[in-house]
């Protein structure tokens, strides 16, 4: 299914906004390192979800691949955050 130009533009705005907010949290917020890591990696997973749905056309994926990438995002985020707290 094709995304509308408006949907593609909104996805880009969202990706840029989350990137800038992640940078602000990491560089200027002064919060604890572990919390900062959790926030920026969770933000990465959200950005990944946006790219999958809006740009990669996840709806046209075969079912196994939708499940795979859904799990891939979660597992990558949990692994990176989890080891930071270990």
């Amino acid at each position: 299914m094709l995304q509308t130009p408006k949907a593609l533009r909104r996805a880009w705005v969202g990706l840029v906004a989350i990137t800038v907010l992640s940078l602000a949290v990491a560089e200027f917020s002064g919060i604890a390192a572990g919390v900062e890591t959790a926030v920026v990696i969770a933000a990465a997973a959200v950005k990944g979800r946006i790219i999958l749905v809006r740009y990669m056309g996840e709806r046209s994926f075969p079912p196994w691949l939708r499940v795979y990438f859904g799990g891939w995002l979660v597992v990558c985020a949990i692994v990176i955050i989890g080891f930071h707290f270990s």
């Binding site: 130009p5 840029v16 990491a26 990696i41 994926f61 795979y68 270990s86």
Partner: protein
């Protein structure tokens, strides 16, 4: 100015009910490749995180050498290129070939900008004495970003070749398939960077 070619092949379209919904769902080989590629990076993320947990001070010291601003610029460049690429595919599917070609050219140009920024980062790191053998952090930094950069350059080559073929009027069904597979691949490169950037530059 030559005649603008039509991307959509009418014979191919006759086999589909909706030309806007011609998905790649039957290309199991391509999907397997995409999944395998993502798995490779997931393993690298796992190994990096595992090693970082045993030497956090060494990794933090290495991370402080990186220029966060350059990583941020590259993130913005890559998400912008993905927007252009998705818009290009949309225009091509709707026979707006001229606009689609411009968007493809923009995508490739942003890919080159990403590569230029990344290489400048490598030069900065090397000039300050940080090589692949300096520390575990820089070993991972050069390996992960190097493999990712290789992926991006393959994407640039695919986009340029397909764009050129469409520009000169070559419009075989294979070109459409390569363009759409190339677009998915491009977005995968973007998706991977969404984790590489915070993992290497931001997470402390």
């Amino acid at each position: 100015m030559g005649r603008v070619p039509q991307l959509v092949n009418t014979t191919a379209l006759a086999n589909h009910q909706d030309p806007q919904d011609m998905s790649l769902s039957r290309d199991a080989g391509f999907w397997t490749f995409i999944a395998a590629d993502a798995s490779l990076f997931a393993l690298l993320f796992f190994q990096f995180s595992l090693d970082r947990s045993s030497q956090p001070v060494v990794f933090d010291e290495g991370q402080r050498v990186l220029v966060v601003l350059l990583g941020t610029v590259n993130t913005l460049v890559l998400v912008s290129s993905s927007w252009l690429m998705a818009s290009a595919v949309r225009n091509m599917r709707r026979d707006s070939v001229r606009t689609g070609l411009r968007l493809i050219a923009g995508t490739a140009a942003l890919g080159v900008v990403f590569a230029a920024v990344k290489i400048s980062e490598y030069v900065l790191a090397l000039r300050s004495g940080h090589t692949v053998s300096t520390s575990p952090f820089f070993m991972y930094y050069f390996v992960i970003t190097g493999i990712h950069l290789g992926h991006l350059m393959i994407g640039v080559i695919v986009v340029v070749v397909v764009g050129w073929r469409l520009r000169v009027g070559i419009r075989r069904p294979l070109d459409r398939t390569v363009l759409e597979c190339g677009a998915v691949y491009w977005h995968l490169v973007d998706l991977l960077w969404m984790f590489i950037f915070p993992m290497l530059y931001l997470a402390r």
